[in-house]
């Protein structure tokens, strides 16, 4: 199990070496990154097989848990570590083939993202989160156009502010409890964090990490960054990194802050995100920003799903998150060739029917049309929300339903526009998709279809993951052992 550290260490090592190595040996730079990602995915797969689904932990530096830093390896962490490697491999940016520094940034981001998925220490989470941020700044700024740089700068400023908030939150928690290990904090939370202070810390951390998770008030950077960054980077940020940030928030929520107020807060923030995101997406006039706003909306939906108390909420939230993890990157990859305003894309579907078909598939799943997985995720969410005897939850369900209507409208306004008989001169300029540009979307589409067919096993597995995630006892005993003397 200790080998899981490789998932963090290897890409980091690669990243450190790449800028040096790439100058001397050109092909190293090209292949090192993908090779390392393959290796890390293999490591995760092997370890996952060995674990047999039972959570375990490793102690970094060999120090016993409450003192040292631990990685916690439940299925959720492993699946996200794996997804990180695989998605990064699938969405390896074009620039990374040419520029070793971009490749290094990718590796840094992958390493930190895996670390975020695995880490069991509050401050360590923060460090990995910051690493992800800084690496994403670089990736986002990589096109180096004026707009990209300006968008990145705004992104940096808001991230920086988030950092301050999160750090303050961590400081509050540490001042109160004197420990940073999540398992230890879990033990102490009932007596120390179940109060205003705990909520304050949670709010601060939520706002801090929420910047990456595209939470409602702190997602202002999203549309401009996704519109200016390269589409694959946007795909990674929207698909993967945002989910990781959410997963971190949810871990903290489950372990440290099980107060109902925190859940209500998630619900309200999520609902606002859904509402504003989907409305703005409805108003968008170009593909990338439509996807960007849609992803804000979807993440709001994830948050709302997680706000359902108990295992049901975690299950629904994971389902929505995993679904979006597959769908949104695929859509962003489609935007590589189909970037820009709707008007310019009129009739593009006739030229690239496969791409249009994929778009429609993903759009259907996003809207939640049965039997695609998106439907089940949305259904679970709605059943969960409506299952609460609480008007706020019901209002939330109403907002989701309303937003879905907008979603259907704008997704299909675009989807049908692809088949508009556009004037030849305009659509002539639209690049035609080929196998290379469709590859990632095709693979993700296949995954989606497989999940559609295998919905029962997938659902059961996800329920198991949610069970593990919900089990605070399990976390504590796995990390700290049962009945051990603690400081």
């Amino acid at each position: 199990m200790n080998l899981i550290a490789l998932v963090v260490a290897l890409p980091l090592l690669g990243a450190f070496l790449l800028p040096v190595g790439a100058r001397s040996v050109g092909w190293v730079g090209r292949l090192l990154g993908p090779a390392l990602l393959l290796l890390t995915s293999l490591v995760v797969i092997v370890l996952w097989r060995d674990s047999g689904g039972v959570p375990s932990h490793i102690e970094l530096g060999g120090f016993q848990p409450p003192l040292g830093i631990t990685f916690y390896l439940d299925q959720l962490a492993l699946v996200f570590a794996l997804a990180t490697s695989l998605l990064a491999l699938l969405l390896w940016p074009h620039a990374a083939w040419r520029d070793a520094r971009v490749a290094a940034l990718m590796l840094l981001m992958v390493s930190a993202a895996s670390g975020m998925a695995l880490s069991g220490d509050l401050f360590n989470l923060y460090v990995f989160y910051e690493l992800v941020s800084v690496a994403s700044f670089g990736l986002v700024a990589a096109p180096k156009t004026g707009a990209a740089l300006a968008a990145t700068l705004r992104y940096v400023i808001i991230s920086g502010m988030g950092t301050v908030m999160a750090l303050t939150g961590i400081a509050l928690i540490y001042t109160q409890t004197g420990t940073l290990n999540l398992a230890h904090l879990t033990l102490l939370s009932a007596t120390t964090l179940d109060n205003t202070l705990g909520l304050t810390a949670f709010v601060l951390i939520l706002l801090g990490i929420g910047v990456k998770a595209e939470l409602f008030p702190v997602n202002i950077w999203v549309p401009e960054v996704y519109a200016t960054a390269s589409q694959r980077v946007s795909a990674l940020l929207a698909g993967l990194i945002s989910k990781l940030a959410i997963i971190v928030i949810i871990r903290l929520l489950v372990l440290l802050f099980p107060q109902p107020e925190a859940l209500t807060l998630l619900l309200v923030i999520g609902a606002l995100g859904v509402l504003l995101g989907e409305l703005a997406a409805w108003h968008a006039k170009d593909f990338e920003r439509m996807l960007a706003f849609s992803s804000i909306g979807q993440l709001g939906l994830v948050l709302m799903a997680f706000s359902i108390p108990g295992q049901a909420g975690l299950f629904a939230g994971l389902a929505v998150a995993m679904h979006h993890l597959i769908v949104k990157p695929a859509l962003f990859v489609l935007a590589e060739r189909w970037s820009g305003g709707f008007a310019g894309l009129a009739g593009a579907g006739w030229k690239s029917p496969w791409a249009a078909g994929l778009f429609i598939l993903f759009a259907l799943s996003l809207i939640g049309v049965p039997p695609l997985p998106g439907f089940w995720a949305k259904l679970m969410t709605l059943l969960g929300l409506l299952g609460q005897d609480n008007w706020i939850y019901w209002t939330g369900a109403g907002i989701i339903l309303l937003a879905t209507v907008f979603e259907a409208n704008y997704l299909f306004r675009f989807g049908l526009g692809l088949f508009k008989a556009g004037s030849e001169s305009r659509s002539a300029k639209v690049p035609v998709h080929d196998a290379g540009s469709l590859g990632p979307s095709l693979i993700l589409g296949a995954v989606l279809l497989i999940a559609t067919v295998m919905i029962t096993p997938v659902g059961n597995w996800l329920a198991g993951v949610a069970d593990q995630l919900a089990d605070r006892e399990l976390y504590v005993t796995t990390v700290l052992g049962a009945g051990r003397e603690l400081p």
Partner: protein, 622 residues
């Protein structure tokens, strides 16, 4: 494996076979054959239609602890019969000459056939749904399948299908909300648990569920105020597709209403719900909605100049009769409503097929560009004549029987205003269908239509078959009433005692066999009188009294535009487009909010909302 499995698997097989041959020339034959096979299997299931106990499929499975049940009862069978009939007729119609024409226009008949097969399959699935979850899943499938059919034509169809899918999604979401509430209340999505629990629910809850479910179904039905999408979306669908959609697709909404309102909730509960501050019950309100659905779309149809659109608007209006009949809750009225589904499907199908035969020959459905085609396409004319008589509800066609039953029940239930409203609708129907047949087949034949010939046999035969069915079921409505009675029994409505000729009632029944015989005897006597008194001399159409002028063929004197000028002088200013206005208000409001959200993301200083949020939330929690 039950026969139901066989039916569904045949449908699925048809779908796959159609997809496999979608680019070939024989796709139409494959699809027609498949639909024929399905119809055959359905006939094997015929005992259902006469009240045999429900058949459950062996294909049930569990999803997340929710058993998905597929089963057919009398109601499913009845709807499936109409679905398959309409599907088969449309498919055959789309197969021969029509498909060559369609292909020559650069379109793919294969995809049309596929979309038809998909619609049929999803609808059969919907009819089989045995719990709320499978109901919703199949419902969504049906919605998106018909979306495919509507969007196939591209061009203006894209915009209309977008409007459709927006409405449909809204409706589906409303159903989903209802589903969630049901799950919350009963802890399951079974019909049985629902029916067991419904007794304990408060009036408000029943109202809420009725409205939420109903809104979903009403969108599909095109019940006011959710009707704006329907006419345009249907009218832009390729010919046979429109015939199919117009005949049965929107009736799936009625299936849902019968299932949820009648079978599960029970009309008696709707009658018990009193709307505060009025003397109306919830059922009355719904009936009034049905009444407005009859009147307003029918009179909108009156204004249409496109034959497809005219018929499509009628489709919306006729839905109101069915709903009104069913909601009347009496044996007679509900039987009329249910019977009207069948009758209207046949009428609408034959009318649309006739219209598209005309379109096939002349290239237009614009009522101002046609005329005088009776001499060129007599069989198509007969088909349309039968259709309009049926649609207008005039004896001896089947449409009369079902409408008569609805009127009669409104009469005996003592609902004068609704009665008058439905008659007003019928009068409007008569006016507009006359306009349809007059502008198409009567009057002056245009010069460019001189060489037009009768439609090809592959198109005429389906029309003739339908016309025959319309007449036969008007002559002997008892054939269909047997099935209707079984449906009534299945959904818990009082069962109508009926005879082969109609309804026996001590205070005014109906016996179509006698009436039709007398009517034809009258025609016979009249014809005898007419033809016995010497031969008449046929003259050219232009040999006409025209105030001293000689008419020539190149001058257009067919009275078609602004056909009911006098009427429009009176009621023209009543067309306010209020629903359209309301829709645009909603859309504008949403658009304003959307603009506001976009502005928020554009203009907001990034850090301010974060800080504001932090403070507000902290203020809340502390």
């Amino acid at each position: 494996m039950s026969l139901l499995d066989a039916l569904l698997l045949t449908a699925l097989g048809t779908l796959i076979a159609t997809l496999a041959t979608v680019r070939t020339r024989w796709v139409g034959y494959v699809a027609s054959l498949g639909l024929g096979l399905q119809l055959l299997v359905l006939f094997l299931l015929a005992p259902l239609g006469y009240g045999a106990p429900a058949v459950t499929s062996g294909l049930a499975w569990d999803l997340f602890g929710q058993p998905l049940v597929l089963r057919y009862d009398a109601m499913s069978w009845y709807f499936a019969l109409i679905t398959l009939g309409a599907g088969l007729v449309s498919s055959v119609y789309a197969t021969g000459a029509w498909s060559d024409h369609y292909r020559a226009a650069g379109r793919s008949p294969g995809w049309l056939q596929f979309a038809l097969a998909l619609n049929v399959f999803t609808m059969l699935l919907l009819l089989a749904s045995g719990d709320f979850l499978s109901l919703f899943i199949a419902w969504e499938l049906v919605s998106w399948a018909s979306f495919l059919l509507m969007a196939l034509a591209a061009g203006p169809a894209l915009k209309w299908s977008l409007r459709y899918i927006t409405y449909a999604t809204a409706g589906a979401m409303s159903m989903l909300a209802a589903l969630g509430i049901v799950f919350h209340l009963t802890g399951s999505l079974n019909y049985a648990d629902f029916m067991a629990a419904v007794d304990q629910w408060s009036v408000g809850l029943i109202t809420l569920l009725t409205v939420l479910f109903g809104a979903g179904f009403a969108v599909k039905m095109g019940i006011l105020p959710f009707h704006l999408w329907q006419a345009g979306a249907y009218a832009e669908t390729p010919g046979p597709g429109m015939a199919f959609l117009g005949a049965i697709s929107s009736r799936m909404g009625l299936y849902g209403m019968m299932l949820v309102w009648v079978q599960l909730i029970g009309l008696i509960r709707l009658i018990e719900v009193h709307i505060p501050l009025t003397f109306l019950s919830l059922r009355d309100v719904l009936m009034w909605i049905a009444a407005f659905t009859i009147i307003l779309p029918t009179y909108t149809a009156l204004k249409q100049n496109d034959a497809r659109r005219l018929l499509a608007w009628h489709g919306i209006g006729q839905g109101g009769y069915m709903l009104m009949g069913i909601l009347s809750a009496s044996a007679l009225g509900s039987a009329g409503g249910i019977l009207h589904i069948f009758n209207y499907a046949t009428n609408q199908a034959v009318l649309l097929l006739a219209v598209f035969a005309v379109v096939y020959r002349t290239g237009t459905a614009d009522l101002n560009k046609l005329g005088g085609l009776f001499t060129r396409m007599p069989l198509t004319f007969v088909a349309m004549l039968v259709g309009i008589i049926g649609l207008a509800g005039i004896p001896p066609m089947n449409g009369f029987v079902s409408k008569w039953m609805v009127y009669r029940s409104l009469l005996s239930e003592g609902m004068p205003l609704l009665f008058v409203a439905s008659v007003i609708g019928t009068l409007g129907t008569i006016l507009s269908v006359y306009k349809l047949i007059h502008n198409t087949f009567l009057g002056q034949l245009r010069l460019e239509h001189e060489p037009v010939q009768e439609a090809p046999w592959s198109m005429v035969i389906p029309m003739m078959v339908l016309a025959l069915i319309i007449f036969l079921t008007g002559f002997m409505p008892g054939i269909v009433l047997d099935w209707v009675a079984a449906v009534q029994a299945a959904v818990g409505l009082p069962v109508l005692p009926h005879t082969l000729g109609g309804v026996a009632d001590a205070h005014g029944g109906l016996d179509m066999i006698m009436l039709v015989l007398v009517l034809f005897a009258g025609f016979g006597v009249s014809a005898l009188l007419f033809y016995a008194t010497g031969r008449s001399e046929p003259v050219h159409q232009l040999d006409n009294y025209a105030g001293g002028h000689f008419l020539s063929a190149d001058v257009r004197y067919h009275y078609s535009d602004h056909f009911y000028a006098g009427l429009m002088h009176r009621i023209g200013h009543w067309y306010r487009g209020s629903f359209l206005w309301f829709e645009s208000v909603v859309a504008s409001l949403a658009s304003f909010l959307a603009q506001w959200s976009a502005t928020f993301y554009r203009l907001m200083q990034p850090a301010l909302p974060m800080l504001a949020m932090a403070v507000i939330v902290l203020w809340m929690v502390s």
